[in-house]
Amino acid sequence: MPGHSRPQSTGDFNRRSVIHSAAPRLDIAVIGCGAAAEGLYRYALGALESRGIARVAALVDPNPVRTAALQRHFRAARTFADPADAFASVAVDLVIVASPPGMHAQHTVDALAAGSHVLCEKPMAIGAPDAERMVAAARVARRILAVGMTRRMYPCLVEAQRLIAQGTLGDRLRFTYREGRVYDWPVNSDAAFRRATAGGGVLTDIGSHVLDFLSALFGATTATSYADDAHADGVETNCRIEVVCPEASGVVQLSWNQPLVTRLRITGSAGELMLDPGRIDALRVRRGGGTWETRISTATWPSDLATRGRGDTPRTHRDCVYHQLVQVLRAVTHGEDVPVDGERGLAVIRAIDSCYERATSFELPWLDAAERSQADARHWTRRRCAAA
């Protein structure tokens, strides 16, 4: 296990409800067979099956073309259009909720009520009330609720945590986190771009990862100011957040349409650190204005469910998805902690909600004066103010 601070336990009830088996083979259901299931989970699930660790028992999606496409890789899986039918027909140990974000809460609550543990893809929900409902359902069902924050598995995060804990950067930590490129996730519809179905834009999407990543480094995040560029019927494609954490403060800038210089840069009284989320195993560090030094992290995560099994260093994002899944299954079988539990997922959703509550218009420098005035007048919060 990486030598960094582990997420807090999901509670004793999880340990009491875990499955104990010498050689467990767990059954998994996937709800939502779109881009996340196809692009992220398919390889990890295939690896779990080939290693005899787990089996995909059910694939659920209202679109039969998607379930059929995924079933080609998981021949034993039964396909369903409706989660209720799947829960009634197949008993599974873990449900991966990879449906559109607006449906995460209901699918998670139903899966927990059916007796399964849940790994919910990020964003956990499109608002704190839904996320709270999910956490409460897990508590009542005495089941694990994990949230898919694959960046927690990045070896560079472990190394950054170690350097910060050692005091390599000194104190008075400040950070700048930029992440952005032109949107290219292979979505099947424009549901990801509507507030009603997606909850928001780039903040909800990339921001979920970024706020969780910062909280893993510096403690709980609090937004002190937030600006975005969404018009009344749109979702934000650019946003800027000023963030305060117990151990640091700084600025986050995210974009769905600008090629931002993507990196996290942390400066302290004694040194600096730079980390590129596109390169998961390395970071750069320098002390006292000296030369930059590249550190390659060899932090490992368990690769199977054996109590003293081997560990591997994730080298790609897909590796991280696999190791995250293994870690969730280890929580199911051995009572270990999940990388991000429902409570921590809820904290991120609350931080996002807090941003939207204080949203102002983001001044984009390429707009002329008349356009800026229009952008301000058409900002989505105007409608909210008018409704209030």
Partner: protein, 362 residues
Amino acid sequence: MRGGIAVLGAGGFVGSRLLERAAHAGRTDIVPVVRAARSVGRTANLGISHRFGDASRAETLERALAGCEAVVNLTTGDPADIPRTTENIYTAALAAGARLLVHLSSASVYGAVEQPDLPDDAPPWPGHWMAYARQKGVAENFLRERMAERRLAIVVLRPGLVWGPGSPWVLGPATDLLRGAAFLAGSGGGICNLMYVDDLLRGIDAVVAHREAPSGFYHVGDNETITWAKYYGALAAGLGVDPETIRAVPSDRYRTGLRDRVDELKALPIYKRARAWLPVEARAQIKRRLARVRGRERPMSSAADNAVGTREIWHLQTTRYRLPTTKFRATFGDHNMVPFPVGMAASLAWLRFIGIGLDEAA
């Protein structure tokens, strides 16, 4: 009541800026057409409805263009597809009953501007080494034949380098300058035929607004004559880069380098097939290993991935003359409102916004 104005390629650099300007102006006549749902993401902040149509599949276009009186083709993509998509767009525009097709071509169809009074309807250079320019030329020839049929008005615009905030022609040179990889052919006296993106869009507006736009080819460009030395110098000054770091290379011959060979490899069909087959992660791993072999770190920026071909830049830097734009201005008026210093200031502000030049020294 007038019909809508279909904009194909609305998810690209020029298209997304067109949508942004239209949304801020409160226009409701723009009909954005994109190939895939993900292309909506770039302008998702505007909350406007899109139609879906794939220019490589004619049957999807007819519905997308229904009810539109004008069609603006801003599509890019694989050079090999340009002639076919142009034919499909023309056919669909005709079927939709559009009165006008505005086709964004490129001055690159000539190679370089080698005479001061280059006619606007000069034929493309079919032997161009660059596939993009060759295929743009093929598409132009197709439209030239259709113009003679007079079934709808066809206006082909030939801009030079479309620059401004968001442009690869700002980002590429800027990243080269910051990496110490920028060069100038000869003394940098070659002409940089620029077209500021907002002025180009004002020009397109003028063409669409013209009720009887005459079919033909039109050069479009900025009003000032800017040399490459001036362009790079202004960027370098704004980025705090010492202009002495810009290398001088011969202007009479080009020496092919590793990057050109890689570009040639990338143009091969077998490379494209392999790229489509290889997972994104595997491609990223290969890139990283190649960077290590070359003895340098992978640039820690997604912005730096957007480089412009080295040979292309050298070739353009040997341009001797300014693109004459008299015909366009005489027909549609002069709609250029952004002088070079203002455009450069906006471009630099955009670079700072995306994080270029703020802490790149690290």
